[in-house]
Amino acid sequence: MVLADELAKKQRSISVAEFFEKNKQMLGFDSPTRGIITTIKEAIDNSLDACEEAQVLPDILVSVRRVSNDVFRVVVEDNGPGIVPEKMPSVFAKLLYGSRFHQVRQTRGQQGIGISAAVLYAQLTTGKPTIVTSRTDAKNKAHTMSLVIKTETNEPEVLSHEEVDWILPHGTRVQLEFKSNIAARKKLIEYLKYTSIVNPHAKFRVEIDDESFTFERVSSDVPPCPVAIKPHPYGIELGVLKRMTAASDLPLKEFLVESFSKVGEKTALEICSSARLDPAVKVSTLDLESLNRLLDAMQTTRIPAPSASQCLSPITDELIVKGMEKEFELDFIKARTRPGNVYGGHSFIVEAAIGYGGKLPPEGSAILLRFANRVPLLYQQGACAITNAVQNVNWKAYGVSQSGLPTGPILILVHVAATSVPFTSESKDAVAAIPEIEREITLALQELGRDLKMFLSRRDRNKLQDDRARAICSVIPLIAAKVGEIVELPVPDTSLIEGRIMRRVVLKKSSAGGKVMIHIDNYTTKPQEISLYDISGDAAGDANIPPSFVSEMDGEYTKIWKFALASGEAFEVTYTGLGGGMIEMQGVSENLKVVVDLDV
């Protein structure tokens, strides 16, 4: 058949750059608005990762400027370790090129695709090359290159290259131009704010057109750079195992110990025996049947979880709290970092925080901040496992109302740090529904929920005690008066009740018939040093006990009496006046104090 030959002629390789040029929505460049956010995010991810590797406190400049009607110039500059000139073209102008893809550790960027995709997107929409400046050392000059990607081959093309003077001793600066619109502005600031919360050691200077502002760092400790570890047996698939054994010349036991984390001699032998394989057999000779048995054994033998501490870099609860305090005003704030855990052989750690009250909107759904490997997730909240987990917690058990998300003045932050974050797509908007991760999020939130409940019930208990005091000191006298009227007898004295029940210092102020009376009883068991503040329009010149201090301003008199009151004793001052104003008593601790203004 001639046709097959004919068809064969048309068949050829497709470059990965061509593929993604046609499928840019897969990488988060589906709209001009989105594109600008994605670009800045990719550049900042790279800068933060690099600074972490170099153990430098990041100082990052983000600048967005409109150069013509619909063309924007974006600059991201960092003080990281810089990139050697030979690698600059590939790092920025070749898709699927990077240092982190094959490592098992937590990094923001991973696939070696993000910043080059931005370069691709820039040259596609404006035809402009990307200009990269980098300096690795104060001893060397900086190098500036103008780069494009050759789409047909996915290879970098260097349009110009020169050495230049640069003020920074080391760092990288990338400048891209593309078509966009400024609808992205709000989302961009949101992205930077959230990024700054989970990277409290980083400082961001931002310039958007004519405006500039800074997100300051609140911590001066660079988080330790996660160390790459060997893969865990639970996370291996048959195809990968086959590749590893084929490439190794070790005997089985040594292969297991050398190639995987958490596998010691004992565990290795256990695996061999379970797989009915000779520990001394060369792994390269194992057939598919044996490999299948081996994989089965590796995944059913009990092996400790990979140690998260090395390969992951949680923010820590302390710094999360600092980061949140920096950006929000809250009455309550608590964070938790869960112990490390594993899904399908990948280490991960969940951190969460809850903020309550303060300036948060008192009604409506909680504000939910989602992060993965210290990167904020801004899109597709509904499709994210984090959202799901938050909704599945029974918030009512913690005294918080709920309709899907909890409602009320609540802020919830969840950070998933993992050697490989399972995103639902390469645009990295949402975490996939992995049961192990959801469970950890749930546990973290439940712990925090209990703390929140404690806070809320303590707040309620304080309210209750106040309530009781108020009842006794303000309502019972009224009952006494009315009851006296009914039975046609003099009003009974209520101080006995107050004394017995209260064990507090009780201040009552009342005014009637042009006379003001302030009466204080010390029902506590201890003597009290009291400063009584009475601010009103009355001068109190005829007070039976003259104030220790009087001042006047705009017709308002501040009268202060200072005195000691032994347990069981009373203080009473009367003067001519109309009352009103403000009354306060200092020197008595808050929980022993009852102030009743009978005029109100």
Partner: protein, 365 residues
């Protein structure tokens, strides 16, 4: 206690006693408190002696230890004071008026209408006196009566003697809202038929059922008002006239019967005064729907759950009701009183009622 002024004096005394207890508590350095029976379906019990359902032993103590209950007691003190004044001045008022008057009571002001209602019920329980004794008028009118009975009503315009067949129009005699002012003079009645709907009341009247059988017809007007229930109780107790209840055949109507015969949960403290334990239910029974093939509607979800709730209600824990309610759930049907019209306008007076009344022994012809 049919002498009003004597009644008022005794009531005032009871109220002042309550106030005096609080007075003494306060003077003695105690937080004032008051004890009340718990008012739920789970705390009503059958009283063998009076044959009615009353509140049981479960009690709750209310004391002025929290702002909420202290304020509640303050309101109660104001209400007692208000009633005392009212009694002294020989005035009366409605609950709603008292609610508006409380506008001037500062902290003791009622937050909502049902708060004042509830408080009056509390006072009824504590004093074991009806609200009518407090000169608190209900909003709702009593029912109408038509039949061979003569009453003497002590009105504000003097004593009126009225025969409820001869001296009234077709709409009958209206029971006043304070039945204590009515004296039952004499009668010639074989029974009282308490009827749920106006249509059936008129049907019996038009067909001359009151004359033919010397029956007193009483139109309940839905869930009967207190005055109506008190009137039924008194006709039964003072005059010895048997009372039967004739309603639609659905769960809500059975509750009407239950509140006539056993008392309502809300007013269990008044059961002895308001309930007529000997009152008998004569229909529409679920078995009538079956037997007479009455036009019927399907039960709604609400109907079914009301019927199921009745199966657990102590007031319906008899073989009769269990059988009928289960039958109804099984048939899944309900019928109205007037559905008897499908068998002709005279069926109910010529056949159904005579046979029912003979069966339960009220008619001996």
């Amino acid at each position: 206690m049919s002498d009003p002024s004597e009644r008022d004096t005794a009531t005032k005394k009871r109220l002042m006693e309550i106030a005096k207890v609080w007075y003494d508590q306060i003077a003695g350095g105690e937080v004032p408190s008051i004890t009340l029976p718990t008012r739920t379906k789970y705390n009503i019990e059958y009283d063998d002696e009076s044959e009615v359902w009353k509140y049981g032993d479960k009690e709750s103590v209310r004391n002025a230890g929290t702002a909420k209950s202290a304020t509640h007691m303050l309101k109660m003190a104001y209400v007692i004071w208000f009633i005392k004044t009212q009694l002294q001045e020989n005035r009366s008022s409605t609950l709603r008026e008292m609610y508006y008057i409380s506008e001037g009571w500062k902290q003791a002001k009622f937050g909502a209408q049902n708060e004042s209602n509830y408080l009056i019920e509390d006072l009824e329980i504590i004093t074991a006196l009806q609200r009518e004794f407090f000169h608190m008028r209900p909003e709702e009118d009593g029912a109408s009566i038509f039949g061979p009975i003569r009453v003497r009503e002590n009105t504000r315009r003097g004593m009126k003697e009225i025969h409820c067949q001869d001296d009234v129009g077709e709409a009958g005699y209206n029971i006043p809202n304070n039945v204590e002012n009515v004296e039952l003079v004499d009668h010639d009645a074989s029974c009282v038929i308490a009827i749920e709907t106006g249509g059936m009341f008129s049907r019996l009247q038009e067909n001359g059922f009151d004359e033919e059988y010397n029956a007193v017809l009483l139109h309940l007007k839905g869930q009967p008002a207190r005055a109506t229930r008190r009137m039924l109780k008194r006709m039964n107790e003072e005059l010895g006239i048997p009372v039967v209840v004739f309603t639609d055949g659905d769960p809500w109507s059975y509750r009407i019967y239950a509140s006539v015969a056993y008392g309502s949960i809300k007013a269990a403290h008044m059961s002895e005064l308001l309930a007529t334990p000997s009152a008998q239910f004569i229909g529409v029974k679920p078995s009538d729907i079956q037997q007479y093939n009455l036009p019927a509607d399907k039960l709604t979800e609400q109907d079914v759950s009301a019927l199921k709730a009745e199966l657990t209600d102590p007031r319906f824990a008899t073989d009769f009701w269990k059988k009928e309610i289960n039958l109804q759930l099984e048939m899944n049907l309900k019928s109205e009183q007037q559905a008897f019209a499908s068998r002709g306008l005279d069926f109910v007076t010529k056949e159904y009622l005579p046979s029912m009344l003979s069966e339960i022994g009220v008619l001996k012809r």
